[in-house]
């Protein structure tokens, strides 16, 4: 099959959605001539014109608001927040407006919008350009939260998100944009709310999100050499969360490690652990359920510090090995 980068896969998804449906448009900072800070929309201005690829002033709250207003009145906007960090400026709009209006108005309004944004560290951009805030949105009923972990997932999940009649927070990862993978040319959808088992194994269940999926898979390769088989599970949509495959996996392995880049304290890992610990998998647990997550610090600029601030292949190997060997 044809290989595309994650960024190209997203662009193809956007192009196909916009071609198929004139209600779909893009809005954000520097998405036109510049092509987006990470190049995702490169060329789309030329294809669709400035009316549908809308460059905005630097006003994130109103980018979100513009999406909400347009979605309420029949359009299907795709907003771009240049770095996930800046979504902090849109919290009122996304949480008190986008997520609430449907319920608050008695189930009669709908807000079919996607807000895309790149999260994560690893580019030396320091504390204000490296946030991983997905769990904030997971904590907000009314929003859906998607985190594609590779190029194939990116396109399929983006098309499904654009189809969805709810506000979807679509979190890309800076380090994935240039990674390649097989991507079918035709439009395809990966339904929101379906957890994927990315690798089967019988010793330890590793639940990983976004860039951590490939790190977990790399760790699994390593450990396979030692005879330890990881089962790597990727929720793909953090909300709604399809926990059945996670629970089934833990029932099989009896051991679970949850890996994410966001800081551990108050993070999404807690949700996963709590789902496991209150499920029927509880009785099958042979070891404590462990989390491996970002350190509880802002992301440092210095390369080596930045590297050590979040889980890497080695640390996943180390943690999973300990779990498998009963060292917890």
């Amino acid at each position: 099959m044809r290989e595309l980068t994650y960024a190209e896969a997203l662009r193809e998804g956007l192009r196909q959605a916009m071609t198929a449906d004139s209600r779909v448009f893009m809005i954000g900072e520097d998405i036109g001539v510049y092509g987006g800070a990470f190049g995702v929309s490169a060329g789309l201005l030329q294809e669709f014109g400035a009316e549908r690829i809308i460059d905005t002033p630097i006003s994130e709250a109103t980018i979100a608001g513009a999406c909400i207003g347009a979605a309420l009145t029949g359009m299907r906007p795709v907003g771009e927040i240049q770095f996930m960090d800046f979504v902090t400026l849109t919290m009122e709009q996304m949480v008190l407006q986008a997520a609430k209006v449907r319920f608050m108005f008695g189930g009669k309004a709908s807000v079919p919008m996607v807000l895309r944004m790149p999260g994560g560290s690893g580019t030396g951009a320091a504390a204000q350009h490296s946030e991983s805030l997905e769990n904030w949105f997971v904590h907000v009923p009314g929003l859906k939260v998607v985190m594609p972990s590779n190029a194939y997932e990116a396109k399929g999940l983006l098309l499904a998100a654009i189809d969805d009649d709810n506000p979807v927070i679509f979190i890309e990862h800076k380090l994935l944009y240039k990674t390649k993978g097989d991507v079918p040319e035709e439009p395809y959808r990966i339904p929101l709310g379906q957890t994927r088992v990315a690798r089967e194994g019988q010793h330890v269940t590793v639940v990983a999100t976004s860039v951590m999926v490939s790190r977990a898979l790399a760790a699994a390769e390593e450990l396979a050499k030692e005879g330890i088989e990881l089962e790597v599970v990727d929720p793909r949509t953090l909300s709604p969360l399809d926990d059945a495959p996670i629970i089934a996996s833990v029932k099989k392995t009896g051991r679970a490690l949850v890996v994410h880049e966001a800081v551990q304290m108050g993070g999404f890992g807690g949700e996963i652990v709590a789902r496991i610990a209150s499920s029927e998998a509880f009785d099958y647990l042979e070891a404590p359920v462990r989390r491996l997550a970002g350190l509880d610090i802002p992301i440092p600029y210095n390369r080596e510090l930045e590297y050590h601030a979040v889980p890497q292949v080695e640390s996943i190997v180390r943690e999973a090995r300990k779990l498998a060997r009963g060292e917890y």
Binding site: G69, T73, M75, G106, G107, P112, N166
Partner: protein, 339 residues
Amino acid sequence: MVASGQLQPEVIQRYHEVIESLGPEVLKQMLQDMHTIRAFEERAEQLYSLGKVHGTMHLSIGQEATAVGASGALRDGDYLLNHHRGHGHCLSWGSTPERMMAEFLGREAGYCRGRGGSMHIADMESNNLGANGIVAGGVPLAVGVGLSIKMRKTDQVCIVIFGDGASNEGAFHESMNMASIWNLPVIYLCENNQYAMSMPFPKAFNIKHVSERAPGYGIPGVTVDGNDPLDVYLAISDAAARARRGEGPSLVESVTYRYKGHSKSDRQAYRSRDEVAEWMEQRDPIKRFSSLLVAGGILDQAGADGMRETAMGIIDRAVEFSEASPMPDVSTILEGVYA
């Protein structure tokens, strides 16, 4: 316009014209609507005291002229983004007192199935996109509604209503600028009722009028007498015409006054009784418009007096309807979060 002091001859002329062009029936209906709004809110307040309505509410008593003047200048199909002090706007936009009151009473038949309450009346069917509990919360949405109109190439306009207090939120600034650079069909209507909760206008602004901010976005800004429905009507008509011509947004500041406390827990220590009394006596929008219509021979005194009763009757029926209608069933509690 009237608020700016002396009346210029052209203004008087336009005023005469608008009276002519609207005709007696519309003018009478405007007055009737103002009565209905007031009666509705007075009853809501009473039901609140009786414990039948809970939560909080923000009454617009004293501000009815702005609601009636503004929606009177707009068309079916236009969009409304409303704010927390928005009962009057809903009613003049066409929401029924029945379903509004049912919402206040938390009933399934309310506009929001009892989930929203007084602060969140919305009616998607009439393009009433909802009142907002967040100060300036609806203001950024106006950009999206404007964009959507532009992309769908209709001649709709969007009016977004907010208070003087809301004009100091960042959202005001961002939204106004974006609507301006893209020439969106949006009318920004600021109801300047002199206070944001306990904050008097002069303490929160170093300018005389909110409309002075319009030039900073390259758009027209006017200040009108918000207690005169015709002055509001004229300004909104102008803004709507401009918007429909594709010339972009306008800022209209309507100067008015709220008689009641900010919400249900306000002791009003921040203003004097005299000040309130003066507005009620000298500038009450209903009294003034009533006198105008009587003086102009459009209405006789009996007709004017009857309107209050008509309004009370409408509200009686709304309350009856609401009290007779069922509460939501707890088993439905999870409904409506996701589409």
